[in-house]
């Protein structure tokens, strides 16, 4: 496993990060035993970075990750999130100072630890920027003062919303999903330079574009528009014809982008873990990658709308 320094911090993250949403059964049932086993196996493979949220499985993901990592806390870098607790707006969101403070205490209990390495305010496009800056982030700062959190960040989908916060210079890390992969790699041109100017680390997530690039196709709720789906279809068909594993190619493309320290990918069982590890070990050959990039088109299609702004 390769490790990269998350700029603005002293954390060296494995390039493959363990996305723990599947442990919260967001994509189907996972056995409690199985979830502990896969986390331990990931540690054995050299994965040292684990990301979760109270939103994933409505706290189940955190509880299971905490159980699996108890006794192994010193081998793991843990990030969790705060501010998003359910699917729908507005009742699923609360970035108020009080709620974020309480949220972190609850997360620490579920994760069975006295501190987490990073807390992200979760999906900040569902909040006015003023709420993030005046309430959410001050709560994170106070949690850092209290020794409960080491680094502060925000996460979300639209890049402009993330950039607005990065530019204030008030956060250490930014987490972007579905913008650092084969279908949309705009994180490199848009977010990474701003983050660099502000000594802010970058992590990306979901290199399969929330299932759009998985051979079995996306989940029914996937928000992508027709253009993006067409681009994905072209990649899936090409890989099928050539006998190339698209998940492996997609992960290896995301890992190769300049800027992000780690790529978070959802892992819920031993098979998914081994796919990720072998993709990290064996990059897809350049010629295939070049074809895939050509096939996806210039930009792969417009992002979908997300948030309230």
């Amino acid at each position: 496993m390769l490790y990269r320094r998350l700029s603005g911090t002293d954390l060296d993250l494995s390039v493959v990060g363990f996305g723990a949403a599947p442990l919260g059964e967001e994509y189907g049932p996972v056995d409690e035993r199985e979830s502990t086993d896969v986390v331990r196996a990931a540690l054995d493979e050299g994965i040292n970075y684990f990301d979760t949220s109270p939103y994933y499985g409505r706290t189940l993901s955190e509880s299971r990750l905490g159980l699996a990592l108890s006794g192994f806390r010193d081998q793991a870098i843990i990030s969790t999130k705060a501010g998003r607790y359910d699917r729908h707006y507005p009742e699923g969101f609360d970035f108020s100072y009080r709620r974020i403070v309480r949220s972190i205490d609850q997360s620490l209990r579920r994760l069975r630890t006295d501190h987490v390495d990073i807390v992200f305010l979760h999906d900040i496009e569902f909040s006015p920027a003023s709420m993030i800056l005046d309430e959410g982030l001050p709560a994170l700062v106070d949690a850092r003062e209290a020794g409960k959190v080491r680094f502060l960040g925000v996460s979300g989908y639209p890049l402009d919303v993330l950039i607005e916060i990065v530019e204030t210079g008030s956060i250490d890390v930014v987490l972007s999903y579905c913008h650092g992969d084969l279908l949309n790699s705009s994180v490199t041109d848009c977010l990474v330079p701003v983050a660099r100017d502000n000594q802010c680390g970058v992590i990306t997530a979901s290199p399969l574009h929330m299932g759009l690039l998985s051979p079995s196709g996306p989940p029914s709720w996937h928000p992508a528009g027709p253009e993006l789906r067409r681009a994905a279809r072209a990649l899936i068909d090409y890989c099928k014809k050539k006998g190339v594993s698209l998940p492996a190619a997609a992960l290896s493309y995301a890992l190769g982008l300049d800027g992000p320290a780690s790529v978070l990918i959802g892992i819920g069982n031993a098979r998914e873990l081994s796919e990720c590890v072998s993709a990290a070990r064996q990059p897809v050959e350049d010629r295939t990658m070049a074809t895939l990039v050509t096939l996806r088109g210039r930009f792969g299609g417009e992002p979908w709308p997300s948030g309230i702004r």
Binding site: G24, E25, P29, P54, G57, R58, T59, L60, S63, Y85, D86, R87, H88, E91, Q106, R109, R110
Partner: protein, 290 residues
């Protein structure tokens, strides 16, 4: 809040209702029911079917956990067998939570017999009207339930939650489920006390929680907004894997309806409904085992 009149998403699979009661005052003696004029004299398979056969969409109730209803303790055996006759009459009973004299030396005979029946999955002792410290007499019996593969239903009021924690700590190998979220008085200024003790109780991994019975603890004509903070707090603290839907029928009908409570919980728990409305109860009560 979900907009008024907006249909909640309802569970797509057959529901397992983790908490209902059957009783018949003509057959057995239930002292407390004579003081509860708002409750029917009889609650059985036929009436349950009437209460649930007009649920919206494709929702159906596919499994029931029938909880003892505080008949005269001498009639506890008869209560179990009468409940089982309701299964023969079509009620989809998947498990029974029975009374047992856990404070007596003779409890082992009763537990042996229940464990042999298979359909008895747990024991409940209604502690809610007992004096402080009563739970101590139950401790050895509650502890022994683990050996019989039986669970224990904690039926307490909110001021007794700290006692419930002591009982749980005295029996760490027993599986517990809290009935009716500890019966908080909905909308009262004691919210913080209740919430804090629930957090404490939920930190014990062998305790689960029923999302049930709040309607009768709420002011008349309660709304979703009244009960939402309680349900949300319980789900956050216990986690989506340790909470289960229970209707508390027919008691729920005294402060709403079966459908009303079902829709309330469904609109507050919009994800992982398979777990909350079926799998968690099945796993906790071991409903799929003999």
């Amino acid at each position: 809040m979900t907009a008024e009149g907006c249909r909640p998403e309802l569970p797509a699979l057959p529901i397992v209702d983790a908490h209902i009661h059957f009783w018949d005052m003509a057959r057995l003696s239930y002292p407390w029911l004579s003081d509860a004029p708002s409750l029917p004299a009889r609650a059985d398979a036929m009436l349950f079917d009437q209460a649930t056969n007009r649920l919206p969409g494709d929702v159906m109730v596919g499994g029931l956990v029938v909880v003892q209803a505080e008949c005269d303790p001498d009639q506890a055996d008869s209560e179990v067998f009468w409940i089982l006759t309701q299964r023969a009459l079509g009620a989809p009973i998947a498990g029974v939570v029975a009374f047992a004299p856990l404070e007596d030396a003779g409890a082992t005979d009763v537990l042996d017999r229940y464990a042999g029946l298979g359909i008895v999955k747990g024991i409940r002792r209604n502690i809610q009207d007992e004096a402080p410290g009563f739970w101590r007499r139950l401790t050895p019996g509650v502890r022994s339930l683990a050996d019989y593969g039986l669970s224990f239903d904690l039926c307490v009021r909110e001021h007794q939650l700290s006692e419930a924690i002591e009982l749980v700590d005295a029996a760490p190998d027993t599986r517990f489920v809290l009935d009716h979220l500890g019966k908080p008085s909905v909308g009262s200024p004691h919210w913080a006390d209740w919430a804090g003790t629930i957090t404490d109780l939920a930190s014990r991994p062998n305790v689960h929680c029923k999302l049930s019975g709040l309607g009768t603890e709420a002011p008349p004509n309660w709304t979703l907004a009244d009960v939402a903070p309680y349900i949300r707090h319980a789900v956050e603290e216990f986690g989506i894997h340790r909470v289960m839907f229970g209707s508390d029928w027919p008691v729920c009908a005294a402060a709403g309806s079966y459908r009303g409570w079902l829709e309330t919980v469904a609109s507050l728990v919009t994800s992982h409904q398979d777990r909350v409305f079926a799998h968690n109860a099945t796993a906790f009560y071991r409903l799929d085992q003999g």
